[in-house]
Symmetry: C2
Subunit: 176 residues, 2 copies
């Protein structure tokens, strides 16, 4: 059948084309919006990762310090036990005592410092109680003796102190 | 002037509308493409930062180990000097010698190991030449004496060894 060209055919075609174009515009707008949202989310993830990375770096550095320092603390303990036993050779003893002072200084330089314990209230965050001891002169709960020195690295615990704590006066046995 | 409605007016309007729509579709396609490219670039940056962050973490950990271990090496030197001087008190001496063995073991545990020097060819990446010495029995360029022990942390240098190197036989003075 032959189409009569009364102009209506063109107009119908135009309407269809317009509808198709409208759909395309709608589709593209939607896709663009999606893409922009996707970009914003990725940017937010990115910023988080970057922020976390700088915190992680500091933690990794501390971790390296801790891993290096921990095995060396028993060496200092051993040197202190040797010094505590004393010697009949004052020259050699003084050489070793000087090395001990250098050791403590080097640990400080490396960021590690001893935890104060004796005379302080027992603090479970830095103290490990290994025994209680009845005491007439010291308040209960006060550290009376340090079995092994504790160490901290900056504000973090490197090794807890092992301590003996003054027992309550009335029932010291019940504490043990 | 009054417009004659011959259908041409509508068709012109349609054509204009279509042109506007075409422009809009073109603009949106362009914007969408730009946005997709932007996303790909950000994704690539993100991946790079993530890859680098994991390398940086390992480096930061090593950095922490190095910073902690370096100040402790002179303490070991000091202990070795004391032991080298000897003592008239064998019990005390043995206690200190045991501490020394514990020290070397702790450094190994912390990742640090001594650099082999004496008898090896001088290596500027781990050796620091402090003197040359004429030698009849040793090949020129071979380390004959270690003044200060060198240490490495894994594959990295912690502290170079200070060494004395065998001088060329004919002109040992020229080397100095």
């Amino acid at each position: 059948m032959q189409r009569v060209d009364d102009g209506m055919g063109d107009r119908n075609t135009d309407a269809v084309r317009r509808a198709v174009q409208d759909d395309e515009v709608e589709r593209l707008r939607h896709a663009l919006n999606e893409e922009q949202q996707r970009h914003l989310r990725l940017r937010a993830d990115f910023d988080n990762v970057r922020r976390r990375a700088s915190r992680d770096l500091e933690a990794a550095r501390r971790d390296g310090q801790r891993a290096a320092l921990r095995p060396l603390l028993p060496v200092l303990d051993s040197l202190e036990r040797a010094l505590a036993a004393g010697s009949t050779d004052p020259d050699f003893y003084e050489g070793v005592a000087a090395t001990h002072r250098l050791f403590v200084k080097a640990l400080h330089e490396a960021g590690a410092d001893p935890i104060e314990s004796v005379g302080r209230p027992f603090d479970p965050t830095v103290h490990e109680g290994v025994a209680t001891m009845p005491s007439g002169s010291v308040e209960p709960g006060i550290v009376v003796h340090e079995v092994r020195r504790g160490w901290r690295l900056g504000n973090e615990l490197l090794r807890p102190a092992q301590v003996v704590v003054a027992a309550p006066r009335e029932a010291s046995d019940a504490w043990r």
